[in-house]
Amino acid sequence: MSEASEPRLPEEIREAIDALRPRYPTEEALLLPALHMAQRHWDGWLPDEAIAAVAHELNLTPAKVYGVVTFYDLYHQNPVGRHRLRVCTNLPCALRGAEEVLDSLRSHLQVDEDEVTADGKCSFVHFECLGACEQAPMMMVDDDYHAHLTPESVRRIVEELD
């Protein structure tokens, strides 16, 4: 592959990364922030070209970046819906009915975990404790928390997404 066709980060992300450089004594420490930015740019997931671009920017090997991506639950290696739903099913949420909420969501969306609905709107996963057990059962829709779900309300919330 020629130099020119190799994947690169868009200019605004490179600038944002440069702005963070003085914060850390090593370039490697910029990897998690860079991956967060790249994932936002690549529609919520990290295709191979995103991984290659981040690796190039930080002078790391793609294998090293790939290893980090696979370790963390918030980085995705497959396409996701326009909206990502994370339903907490850990014990405190389960005690208040999280499994029933998840069942309701699954049958409403007609897809399984990690699959994208036909219209590209949603994908969902069950998730570990999100640190909001007083709101149980709860879920995260993109960056926002939704509290005190019921099997009905979870469907309503999905319907109201654009």
């Binding site: 914060r23 850390y24 004594p25 090593t26 490697e28 420490a29 910029l30 990897l31 998690l32 922030p33 991956l35 967060h36 930080l58 290893g67 980090v68 370790f71 963390y72 639950d73 918030l74 980085y75 994370r86 099913t89 850990n90 014990l91 405190p92 389960a94 005690l95 208040r96 009915g97 499994e99 029933e100 570990e128 404790c129 999100l130 640190g131 909001a132 057990c133 007083e134 149980a136 995260m140 960056d143 926002d144 928390y145 019921t150 099997p151």
Partner: protein, 432 residues
């Protein structure tokens, strides 16, 4: 005398997220006082207060600070642990949302005490809003001379940065967190060397939990003697946040002198959910042994819970009523630990997997009479045999299932769960 909240005193007060509002509410007096003292005297004051870590292990904070080597040959760091991923725990979120300047003040005092010029706040990636609130508060602190080249006119230089994680429980373990901060998979390091000597970027580093650091301004402002007067005894001092979840009417974060009882917490939470009876509770997050209801009058502090075979941990109190199936509950926790094991150490990687499988088999009605002993054997193989304490954490609920609730596990094994309704998970009528 009624207990006045200390850590939560600013909850709901308008404007306290900014320096001006926080000062109006009495803030930044602790830092001001600390900057007028020798760093070692600050460490001594925190030592004298008896403050123990609120992140899980209960290690004395002042003692930890005193391990940081003196001298300036290497930079020193404070990494504030805001990963908060222990199931049932949500107190640090409240502290960051409601009173971010209190945390900044605590971090700044710690940095002064150990001569660290850089502080990272490592916050779990899911706390997007809280990270923004912190960023904003830090910007305001820079603008008001609390952070930067000349902290409150003292000449002390301090930079503070928020660093977002990306979803991994193990990054709450302090050396997993350092690996993650440095841009790697969050796999815990071999200790020693301890972070106080070789921590972030190979330099001496203090790691403290959010709540631990939020105690510090009050200790400086009001003195170790005042602090010690709160709590059960000299080994269990100060105010404590309890996160109550599960089968109570009003789950939430409640502040008490350390050593409140389960029964007092249930009362504070408006009683048990729908008036059911208490069957069991987890006093300190998913890693703590599950205790039966007979312990409901035990003071929830470090030592009394250890004596009862459990732990205060992160003080995440998960309440389970009479309709709860403890085997199902432990299976859910086993699934969590299996998912979160980083995979480095064989006993943990295999043990967390097998424990989930054995419980799954039991819940499928295929349990064997030897399964309780099998679970204990898995526990013996996992406990104390790994680099970090995740395996020990996984053992907490597992072992307590066999030891404290033998009849629950026997019911499943003897009659294959006959009578237990398979899908309805934990409560008789789950939702309205």
């Amino acid at each position: 005398m009624a207990f006045e909240p200390v850590l939560l005193r600013n909850v709901g007060k308008p404007g306290v997220r900014q320096v001006a509002g926080y000062r109006e509410a009495g803030g930044y007096k602790g830092l001001e006082k600390a900057l007028g003292m020798e760093p070692d005297a600050v460490i001594e004051e925190v030592k004298a207060s008896g403050l123990r870590g609120r992140g899980g292990a209960g290690f004395p904070a002042g003692l930890k600070w005193s391990f940081i080597p003196k001298g300036n040959d290497k930079p020193k760091y404070l990494v504030c642990n805001a990963d908060e991923s222990e199931p049932g725990t949500f107190k640090d979120r409240i502290l960051m949302e409601q009173d971010p300047q209190q945390l900044i003040e605590g971090c700044a005092i710690c940095c002064w005490a150990v001569s660290a010029n850089t502080c990272y706040i490592y916050i779990r990636g899911e706390y997007v809003e809280q990270a923004e609130i912190l960023e904003e508060a830090i910007r305001d602190a820079y603008a008001n001379g609390i952070l930067g080249d000349d902290v409150m006119g003292s000449g002390f230089k301090l930079d503070m940065y928020v660093h977002r994680g990306a979803g991994a429980y193990i990054c709450g373990e302090e050396t997993g967190m350092l690996e993650s901060l440095e841009g790697r998979r969050g796999q815990p390091r071999i200790k020693p060397p301890f972070p106080a000597v070789v921590g972030a970027f190979g330099c001496p580093t203090v790691i403290n939990n959010v709540e631990t650091l939020c105690n510090v301004p009050h200790i400086l402002e009001r003195g170790a003697d005042w602090y010690k007067s709160i709590g059960t005894d000299e080994r269990n001092t100060g105010p404590k946040l309890y996160c109550v979840s599960g089968h109570v009417e009003k789950p939430g974060t409640y502040e008490f002198p350390i050593g409140v009882t389960m029964n007092q917490l249930i009362d504070t939470c408006g009683g048990m959910w729908r008036g059911a009876k208490l069957k069991a509770f987890i006093p300190g997050g998913a890693s703590a042994a599950i205790l039966p209801a007979k312990h409901a009058d035990l003071p929830l502090d470090f030592d009394q819970l250890a004596k009862a075979g459990s732990m205060l941990g992160s003080a995440a109190v998960i309440v389970m009523d009479e309709n709860t199936d403890i085997v199902r509950a432990v299976h859910r926790l086993a699934k969590f630990f299996n998912h979160e094991s980083c995979g480095q150490c064989t006993p943990c990687r295999e043990g967390t997997n097998w424990s989930e499988l054995v419980l799954k088999k039991i819940l499928a009605g295929k349990g064997n009479p030897g399964d309780a002993e099998l679970i204990l054997r898995i526990c013996r193989n996992m406990g104390g045999t790994t680099l970090c304490a995740l395996a020990d954490a996984a053992v907490g609920p597992l072992r307590s299932l066999v030891q404290n609730f033998p009849e629950e596990i026997a019911a499943w094994i003897d009659n294959g769960g006959a009578g237990a309704e398979p899908r309805r998970y934990f409560a008789e009528e789950v939702l309205v």
